[in-house]
């Protein structure tokens, strides 16, 4: 029996959207307020969905304590209360919700061994969100 388990986490971080490939004027036109050189912040909601057969001995797709520990160590502690533009991951990548979503999917997909990562969903604010399933179509 295959099930999909989704866990929601929160972290707060700041960022600035700015591309070196664009002129100052173009950056302002494309990114608007998000181009403010001092940066600004969000309370990000991160939803991680794992998929797989339900283990008969535990009744679980994966142990939530393992997922929580992995996310806490590899994501919340590394990204929470940071300026995303200062992190190695975003030296050449603009920290949009799309890129953040792909980055976090990559960390989970590479590092979390106990279950398959089905998708990552990020809410930057309650009005916009992004989903990434490693390039696959989303399960609806």
């Amino acid at each position: 029996m295959k099930a999909y388990l989704t866990r929601r986490y929160w972290f707060s971080a700041s960022h600035r959207l700015h591309s070196e490939a664009m002129s100052a004027k173009e950056n302002l036109r494309v990114y608007g307020k998000c181009n403010n050189p001092h940066g600004h912040g969000h309370n990000y909601a991160l939803e991680v969905t794992v998929a797989g057969p339900v283990d008969e001995a535990t009744g679980m797709v994966c142990n939530l304590a393992d997922l929580d520990a992995f996310v806490s160590e590899n994501i919340l502690e590394r990204f929470g209360h940071e300026n995303l533009n200062m992190l190695n991951e975003f030296q050449d990548v603009i920290p949009t919700t799309e890129n953040l979503c792909r980055e976090l999917y990559g960390i989970l997909d590479k590092g979390f061994a106990q279950a398959r990562i089905e998708k990552v969903r990020m809410e930057e604010t309650m009005f916009n969100s992004c989903e990434y399933a490693g390039g696959r179509e989303l399960r609806r």
Binding site: A3, Y4, A57, G59
Partner: protein, 136 residues
């Protein structure tokens, strides 16, 4: 194909325990959830059905009927119950959110005639939910 979702809520208690594990292993795997006296949640259930829109009624499914089926087959049996002790399938099955979603699917799927069951989503808390699509 049009998809329609109906929500319901129920509150229940449970604990996680596998009689084939030692006491230490149960504690290691299930942690706080292994407390044999149980603990409870306010569960939210989302049932999504799919089908064609009936031209005369404009409905995929009559919501009154869906609500009645959900109440009769699921909510009345689970609400304000100790799942391990009072719900038949959980005498031998650990009442995790995964198993709850699968069990609710099995209860509802044979009862739906007009529309087809698409997804059972069970929220144990706002930050934890399971989806089941009937996949084996």
């Amino acid at each position: 194909m049009v998809y329609l979702t109906r929500k319901a809520e129920f509150s229940a208690s449970h604990y996680y325990h596998n009689p084939q594990f030692s006491a230490e292993e149960n504690q290691r795997v299930f942690g706080k959830c292994n407390n044999p006296n149980g603990h409870g949640h306010n569960y939210t259930l989302e049932i999504t059905v799919k089908g064609q829109v009936d031209e005369r009624s404009g409905f995929v499914v009559d919501l009154k009927e869906l609500k009645e089926i959900m109440n009769r087959e699921v909510i009345e049996l689970l609400d304000h119950r100790f799942l391990n002790k009072e719900v038949a399938e959980f005498k031998d099955l650990i009442p995790t959110t995964e198993n709850l979603a699968i069990s609710i699917w099995k209860r509802l799927q044979p009862r739906l005639s007009v529309a087809q069951l698409h997804r059972v989503r069970v929220y144990e808390t706002e930050d934890l939910f399971v989806d089941y699509y009937g996949e084996t």
